[in-house]
């Protein structure tokens, strides 16, 4: 495999966002994934979301682990710094990066093997610490990169390409994220961009740990009858509980939906989330209800998607640690070095 430089042809009439960037400015190198891989659709949704949000691409840091999913940061936001770390341990690298500079936006991209198998411990801690980030798992139920072994999110009884049944209970990362204290939890489907883009936008604007589980079929190893992560299966069993619209503050608000089942949530920066309820009984601010709803539907083989839980005025790790407002990586000698006089005090205290 070689690195492909993507031709940057800027058409003068390409639409620009408020910062003057075109969609092209949010793209990366040409993908080397299999044609039809769900992960490429998620990259496209990420590109769309950041373009729409008018975020300068270089103000985003994108971090990943190892896997086909973790390769995707090369394929979007080409002017952002990226970090392809080690298998299952993107969360600790992201935590350190987020501590060092609170002014950037952190996007963690991982796979179900990366996060639910080898990286389960790290997954837990980055959520419970409330690291301000968007954490996306591109969930295909297999280790795509290493040729399709079942991962820990594969459903019991689902069949491999060769027909073998999976005997182990699946880990539902959404349920786990709820239990671990993530303050924004959603599930999307790579085949439904209209649902996914607003979820990503809302997650970016959320302060605290935002987790999105995106079912993302692996066309090479897990898209056959008998799989519960195939395009066909997910389309048939997709239970969307709501639809989300994200509106930045400056846009006029006033869209009304005919069914009247909408609710608005104002975010920290004044942006507005408008939720259209598809399931009248689902309330994403009620964690306990969300957990039993999810578990009941999971048992029936349904894939519940949408914004599943939101704690709108959450805080993040920096608030908990009471760090200074300035990014830690910008602190100077004057801020960091107390000098010999202060050291004298330390010496005296040790006598």
């Amino acid at each position: 495999m070689t690195y492909l430089a993507k031709p940057r042809l800027h058409h003068p009439e390409l639409p620009k966002n408020a910062l003057g960037y075109t969609r092209r400015d949010y793209e990366g190198a040409i993908s080397t994934l299999c044609a039809g891989c769900g992960h490429d659709s998620i990259s496209a949704a990420i590109i769309q979301a950041f373009f729409d949000l008018d975020i300068a691409p270089h103000r985003v840091a994108k971090l990943s682990g190892i896997g086909c999913s973790s390769k995707t940061p090369t394929y979007f936001l080409g002017n952002s710094h990226g970090f392809n770390s080690v298998h299952g341990r993107m969360p600790s690298v992201l935590t350190g990066a987020a501590l060092a500079n609170r002014d950037l936006i952190y996007l963690g991209v991982s796979g179900d093997g990366d996060s639910a198998s080898i990286g389960l411990g790290q997954f837990a801690h980055v959520l419970r610490r409330g690291v301000n980030m968007v954490y996306i798992v591109e969930n295909n139920g297999v280790y795509g990169l290493t040729k399709g072994q079942f991962s820990a999110t594969a459903d019991r009884g689902s069949r491999s390409k060769r027909g073998a049944a999976n005997n182990d209970e699946p880990i539902d990362l959404v349920l786990l994220a709820l239990a671990l204290g993530a303050t924004f939890v959603a599930r999307g489907f790579s085949g439904d961009k209209a649902q996914l883009v607003p979820l990503i936008k809302a997650a970016v604007m959320h302060r605290g740990a935002a987790f999105i589980d995106v079912i993302s079929p692996c066309v090479a190893f897990n898209n056959h009858p008998g799989s519960t992560k195939s395009y066909d299966y997910v389309r048939e069993h997709n239970e969307a509980v709501n639809r989300l619209d994200f509106m930045p503050e400056r846009e006029p608000i006033g869209v009304e939906y005919p069914d009247g089942g909408t609710s608005d949530v104002v975010l920290h920066d004044g942006g507005l989330l408008r939720l259209r309820k598809l399931d009248a009984g689902y309330d994403p601010s009620d964690k306990v209800q969300a957990m039993s709803f999810l578990e009941a539907h999971r048992a029936r083989g349904e894939v519940v998607t949408g914004l599943l839980y939101l704690h709108a005025d959450s805080d993040d790790m920096h608030a908990a640690l009471q760090t200074v407002d300035a990014p830690l990586n910008a602190l100077s000698d004057a801020d960091l070095v107390p000098g010999n006089a202060a050291l004298g005090g330390v010496n005296a205290s040790l006598r």
Partner: protein, 341 residues
Amino acid sequence: MIGAAWNGARAFTATSGPGISLMQEFLGLAYFAEIPAVLFDVQRGSPSTGMPTRTQQADLLSCAYASHGDTRHVLLFPEDPRECFELGALAFDLADRLQTPVFVMLDLDIGMQDWLCEPLAWDDRKTMDRGKVMSAQELDAGRDFGRYLDVDGDGIPWRTYPGTHPSKGSYFTRGTTKDRYARYTEEGPAYVDNMQRLLRKFETARALLPRPEITNASQPATAGVIWFGSTGAAMAESLAELERRGIHLDRMRIRAFPFHDSVAEFIAAHEHVFVVEQNRDAQLKMLLVNECRIDPARLSSVLHYDGTPITERMITREIAEQARLFVPGLGFQRPGIRKVS
């Protein structure tokens, strides 16, 4: 630590042998992707959980060559709390300058016990060395940026912090092989080119690191002794006692790995050299033989590794006995390895 350092903050971790073992893969990543990192390894006894509250110097090899593939790391060896402070501060400058992990190797006896030492001191004129970091202004001025480009010939490339510039200087950090512009490649020549540059960087490190402390015996001596870390206090007493018994040894206290050229010169200048260390396998001796291409027969070991701090009595007894075997004029001149009881 690795994420924070990648993002331009100074970061460290304090650990002991099990932590070093656990984090091998990350250490290889930091070496290969060239991320500054500072680790304080408080060396305790034994493999595995072993003697978690006892002291040894047994992590030299596991730190010097930590992680799979061809790797080599920078180690510093303080001898007491005062030097922990000095070398600890220096480790951050070295890590930023060299863009690689730097291990401060404490012995548990230094890390966990109360010590008498000189007061800590700080030179207020000192400023942090953040190493080669390219700014937005430099990028705008048209400086070529290749994350793994050896612009200055010292093996150390330039880096940028994330978020620096809207269109220049971004790059992808990865553990996979890459070319000088940080682009993924599995081409053999690009791999070799990068590994050779890492060796040049290691040579640069050799000259930057704290030099060994060398002192002469009170009389011209044909033999010498080498030690490091917490052995210092017992060593000073032992050298005085040995002199009283007519055994004169030149001395070298090693303070860093990779070894400064004066380390090999010291060994070459003596017919026999004792290496005193607190582990079973003579790990410092192995490093000396391996890295300085020294005939192992020129070195003999004094090894203490029962978990207690090394004593003057033990060192004196061992050197006095071995001196009879190895040092001309003091007994037999028969090369060989002596077993230590």
